[in-house]
């Protein structure tokens, strides 16, 4: 019998009722008395010098309150970057200014130049069209490899070059890695592109700034995954507002996927303008603006080499990556290709020597930052693709090759700075083989053949580092913040309680899953527990939601606070029952004294805490509210094995996903239904990246996939039924729940499975195609197939294994 409540049960998500019935309260639902609207005039060229801005006509147009330009922000801080990477020579990264509104130059299509505040949105747009901006257009910096050559046009004139940093990891291992390659029996090399993506949460970004004339207090309502972080970054670094005068509220948020982590110019603008205009100022992004102002994801061009001995044991791994930063450094951008990517390069394998080089490059494109998985999908994709290629080159079974190199003893210290606490990679592989019915593949292959379709099978493993992150460790790695989480548990007199958590929920189901934990700890029904989040006026502090950290870190803080509550409640119960608190037990919402028949209900104790008539007032304060901060002492390491079966239409190149199976080890599980949903969503996004999504720029820096007419989002009918399993559980050893996190796994583990499957299908059909760059659109697959036989027309130059990979993962024709 499955459990019907508490940890391990799958109650339906309580928040879904309001989401599905239109009763959610999103930022755009917030309208303040007297609010004005801002429209941003954005650059339509990728790179240029602003010669002049003529606002004379616009300023006099109906409804215009005020027009702002970069000049208005000249004396104010720029948008800060939350991470400083130290390069391989020991120097800090190059860090450009990131003005709220463009000042002097525009650096990407979509860069805001002017902000028009008006009585209505239409009036603001009308006035923006009357502004005349004279821009001296400059050549766009698009190609990453050309961007770092001597004499290249610079995105930022005051920096030495377009190179943000040249990172070596671990630099001291480089020589040993090079030696291992010289001694290798076999070396497999693969050049590949991790395609640039646009997150496209269903709800576009919104900001409403408010300033109280009487008190000077500011409030910002914003679509953020971490309102406390926005308060700190914007208050301290941009606008100079102390945190006690600034409240940031992120109410219901319609999806984030990473792109709502970061502090954006529009938030700072609305907060600033609310005071400047002495009235609330609101901005709601259009979908078109979202394409050119939300931080993009991925965009790596990599070369990976795997050295093996004669027995197929991995002896060394070496990677060389160009990572696109875009025009400015978004909040966590520098960490994604480094500390969220390099430390994953060992994967599930005991490769003894690893060296990762990453060159982060400024280009005239939208800033690139974390997107579901953030660095870990890029690492996993490289590794699992090169292993598949190595298996093929050496005539080994790809599963057997992986198995013989698996890490099997834990804890395991990788050569890339992290120590895995637990895992069982053979177990997830065994489970995958079972649930994917690999035994039936040959029959399905034959059946596909009767329909003229090429069937292929792709398998891969993944490991991720999440539950981000130990503050002392990330501090050493360049983080400018700690990555703990906090929670306050406030028990009310009648026994119900509120958990105020710094973990933000924007679709993850915290309001359902978190109470399951507390309900189990105390033994009260889940509906007595309310989760409050998304408001700096409530939770004491919050580092927010990303990196699959909510339950592992935020949930652990909640557990610690609840433990404090229980400890205090036991003291109260002990006093009332005239026993020692050491003898008090709490079970099923009832306090008992061991060895006696004395008992006291949970509600009696909570009432006593607030009506302290019979209460140990000498030893204990009244009230029942506790706060805990939890700082993890390691990452968590979910892992798993994924399998994809595809059919390729040989006449058109169209790929269809026929079967998809995922065997994950997330440690302990609180709500299996929510975990299923997280994995489903992650796989859907991974399949989107693998088959459909391509954020493309042309050589002039124009975004050519700037709407859903050209940017292919995955749809339900692009997906097969998923078979997911998370029964393999090696609990995390260092957090109180033993949980590892499941939010990103699907997006990390699925792209290589898809690409491995397509390459397998083509190889089985006699086509010598070793790699195709994502997305594997019909046009690219068809071109690759015909390149293999006719030796003409590659899918993308970077797909070639000849070393001719271009330094760009960006657009152009298929």
């Amino acid at each position: 019998m499955p459990k019907d409540h508490g940890i391990g049960a799958s109650p339906k998500r309580r928040e879904d009722i309001r989401f599905l019935t239109g009763d959610g309260r999103y930022t755009d639902d917030i309208n303040l008395a007297g609010q004005a609207y801002v429209h941003f005039l954005r650059s339509d060229v990728a790179h240029g010098r602003i010669r002049s801005i003529d606002m004379a006509a616009a300023a006099g147009m109906p409804g215009v309150v005020r027009i702002f330009t970069g000049e208005d922000f000249a004396d104010i801080g720029g948008l800060p970057c939350g991470w400083c990477v130290t390069d391989r020579h020991g120097n800090p990264m190059q860090e450009p200014k990131h003005p709220v509104l463009a000042h002097g130059k525009v650096r990407h299509v979509g860069d805001p130049i002017c902000a028009v505040v008006a009585e209505t949105l239409s009036q603001a747009r009308d006035a923006a069209e009357a502004i005349v901006v004279d821009i001296e257009e400059l050549p766009a910096v698009i190609d990453m490899k050309k961007a770092v050559q001597d004499g290249a046009i610079k995105v930022h004139d005051d920096l030495a070059s377009n190179l943000c940093y040249d990172w070596g990891f671990i630099e001291d291992n480089k020589a040993a890695v090079d030696e291992a390659f010289k001694a290798a029996h076999h070396v497999t090399t693969l050049e590949l592109v991790n395609n640039r993506l646009i997150a496209n949460p269903m709800e576009p970004r919104v900001a409403v700034g408010q300033w109280e004339k009487g008190t000077g207090d500011y409030t910002l309502y914003t679509t953020s995954q971490n309102p406390h972080v926005i308060r700190l970054l914007m208050g301290a670094f941009v606008l100079g507002i102390p945190e006690h005068k600034l409240r940031v509220v992120s109410p219901d948020v319609g999806g984030g996927f990473g792109t709502k982590i970061f502090h954006y110019a529009e938030e700072a603008f609305c907060t600033f303008a609310a005071k400047a205009c002495r009235r609330p100022v609101k901005w709601t992004s259009s979908r078109s603006e979202a394409f050119m102002s939300d931080a993009h994801g991925r965009d790596h061009v990599s070369k990976i080499e795997l050295a093996m001995d004669a027995e197929g044991m991995f002896t060394a791994l070496r990677t060389d990556t160009y990572a696109n930063m875009g025009a400015y450094l978004s909040t966590f951008a520098p960490s994604v290709p480094t500390w969220l990517h390099g430390i994953l390069m060992a994967g599930n394998y005991k490769t003894p020597l690893i060296y990762v080089n990453v060159k982060a490059v400024f280009t005239n494109t939208v800033p690139v930052d974390a997107y579901r998985g953030a660095g870990r999908p890029e690492a996993t994709y490289q590794l699992e693709r090169v292993i598949d290629k190595a298996a093929r080159e050496t005539g080994r079974d790809p599963i057997a090759l992986r198995r013989q190199n698996f890490i099997t003893e834990f804890p395991y210290a990788t050569p890339v700075a992290v120590e895995y606490d637990t895992g069982d990679y053979h177990a997830t592989m065994d489970k995958l083989i079972e649930i994917a019915d690999l035994a039936g593949f040959d029959a399905r292959l034959a059946e596909s053949k009767t329909r003229g379709k090429l069937r292929g099978l792709g398998v891969n493993c993944y490991i991720e580092a999440c539950g981000i992150a130990p503050s002392n460790l990330v501090g050493q790695l360049g983080a400018r913040a700690g990555l703990y989480e906090s929670a306050t548990v406030r028990v009310n007199a009648t026994g119900g309680l509120v958990v105020m958590t710094g973990s933000h929920s924007h679709g993850q189901g915290h309001e359902t899953a978190f109470p399951q934990v507390v309900a189990d700890m105390i033994g009260i029904p889940e509906d007595m527990i309310e989760i409050v989040h998304g408001d700096t006026a409530n939770a004491p502090m919050g580092m927010g939601t990303y990196g699959s950290r909510s339950l592992a870190v935020g949930g652990s803080a909640m557990v610690r606070a609840t433990e404090k509550i229980i400890a205090k409640a036991k003291k109260i119960a002990a006093h009332i029952m005239e026993a020692s608190d050491q003898d008090i037990e709490l079970k099923d919402g009832k306090f008992t004294v061991a060895g006696t028949d004395k008992s006291l209900a949970w509600g009696d104790v909570t009432l006593a805490a607030y009506v302290p008539h019979n209460y140990p007032l000498k030893d204990l304060e009244p009230g029942l509210e506790e706060t805990a901060f939890y700082d993890p002492n390691n990452f968590t390491y979910p892992s798993g094995a994924y399998c994809c079966e595809v059919e390729v239409d040989p006449d058109t190149g169209k790929v269809t996903i026929e079967r998809f199976a995922a065997a994950d080890d997330f440690g302990n599980i609180i709500n299996p239904m929510i975990v299923d949903g997280q994995v489903h969503g992650g796989i859907a996004q991974g399949i989107g990246q693998a088959l459909l999504e391509a954020c493309a720029y042309d050589e002039n820096g124009q975004l050519i996939s700037a709407s859903y007419m050209d940017y292919a989002m995955p749809r339900a009918d692009d997906m097969p039924m998923f078979t997911v399993d998370h029964s393999c559980q090696t609990p995390c050893t260092h957090n109180p729940l033993g949980v590892k996190g499941c939010g990103e796994a699907g997006a990390i583990g699925s792209p290589p499975a898809v690409v491995n499957a397509v390459c397998d299908a083509l190889q089985r059909a006699g086509k010598n195609v070793t790699h195709i760059d994502m997305p594997l659109s019909p046009a690219r697959v068809w071109a690759a197939m015909n390149d293999a036989t006719a030796n003409e027309g590659a899918a993308q130059p970077a797909a070639r294994s000849s070393g001719s990979a271009e330094g760009r993962s960006l657009g152009g024709q298929a």
């Binding site: 239409s122 747009r125 050209d710 292919a712 659109s777 019909p778 046009a779 071109a783 024709q813 298929a814």
Partner: protein
């Protein structure tokens, strides 16, 4: 969107009169024009909605057995008719239910989007486009990308489709928009086969005459074996090269012939 005025005439005559205003623009189902206006890429001062004109809606047959579809008839209604199954199947795959319940055939053929589906059906079926002023053979109607034989203010009131002995439309969807990257409509009549291609050419919808000749002799996919479409003049973009589109024309034509039976 900019401010505009809107009129809803109830008769064709009133609509024609209203469209004489220089500022006026006809509005069919609005599935192209409204998004364009929302992007502020079009700024008509006055919209003349054709949605309230009963005489432009509905489907029936004329004495020659042609299927006569009012210009104001929605894709959804066309998808629901059973007299011309290949046309119904085409309509059923345009956009999504919301688009199909608003968009009209008259609006679509008047717009002549190079990636629209109906122009292929019209051309392959040798349809007649009827306006408030005249009748225009499909061969003379579609003049190039977003260009038709329509005069200013002229309204497509009806499209008359001869119903072929066998027909099929194959759409190979562009992955993002799901408009045809290449769409091929094959129609077999007693006096020959017509093949029309949409989505592929920089010149908009066109007939593939070599295939028509071959298929008129031998209505099977094998008849196309020795034919190839030149990539010259084919659209080349993010979603496919001209060569790929040219290749798909042959593949989709063969599939349409096979499916038509």
């Amino acid at each position: 969107m900019y401010a505009f005025e809107m009129e809803r005439p109830e008769t064709l005559a009133d609509a024609v009169a209203a469209l004489k205003d220089e500022e006026a623009q006809a509005l069919g189902g609005g599935q192209t024009l409204i998004p364009t206006m929302k992007q502020r890429l079009a700024q008509p001062g006055r919209l003349i909605s054709l949605a309230g004109i009963a005489e432009m809606k509905g489907i029936d047959s004329d004495d020659d057995g042609r299927l006569c579809i009012g210009g104001g008839t929605t894709h959804g209604a066309i998808a629901a008719q059973s007299d011309y199954p290949a046309l119904a199947a085409l309509a059923s795959r345009i956009g999504d239910p919301a688009v199909r319940n608003r968009g009209t055939i008259g609006g679509s053929v008047a717009n002549n989007d190079p990636s629209a589906c109906y122009p292929a059906a019209c051309l392959a079926s040798n349809a007649t486009i009827v306006t408030n002023a005249r009748e225009i053979a499909a061969d003379d109607f579609f003049l190039g990308m977003f260009t038709t034989a329509l005069e200013e203010g002229e309204i497509v009131t009806e499209v008359r489709f001869p119903v072929p002995e066998a027909a099929n439309y194959q759409k190979f969807a562009q992955p993002a928009s799901r408009f045809p990257l290449v769409g091929v409509f094959v129609a077999k009549f007693s006096d020959g086969v017509r093949v029309a291609v949409t989505g592929a050419s920089e010149g908009g919808v066109f007939r593939w005459s070599e295939a028509e000749t071959a298929l008129s002799d031998n209505f099977s996919a094998a008849a196309l074996d020795d034919l190839n479409v030149s990539a010259d003049g084919m659209i080349s973009d993010l979603h496919g090269s001209g060569a790929y589109r040219a290749h798909l024309i042959k593949v989709m034509t063969g599939r349409a012939v096979t499916a038509a039976g």
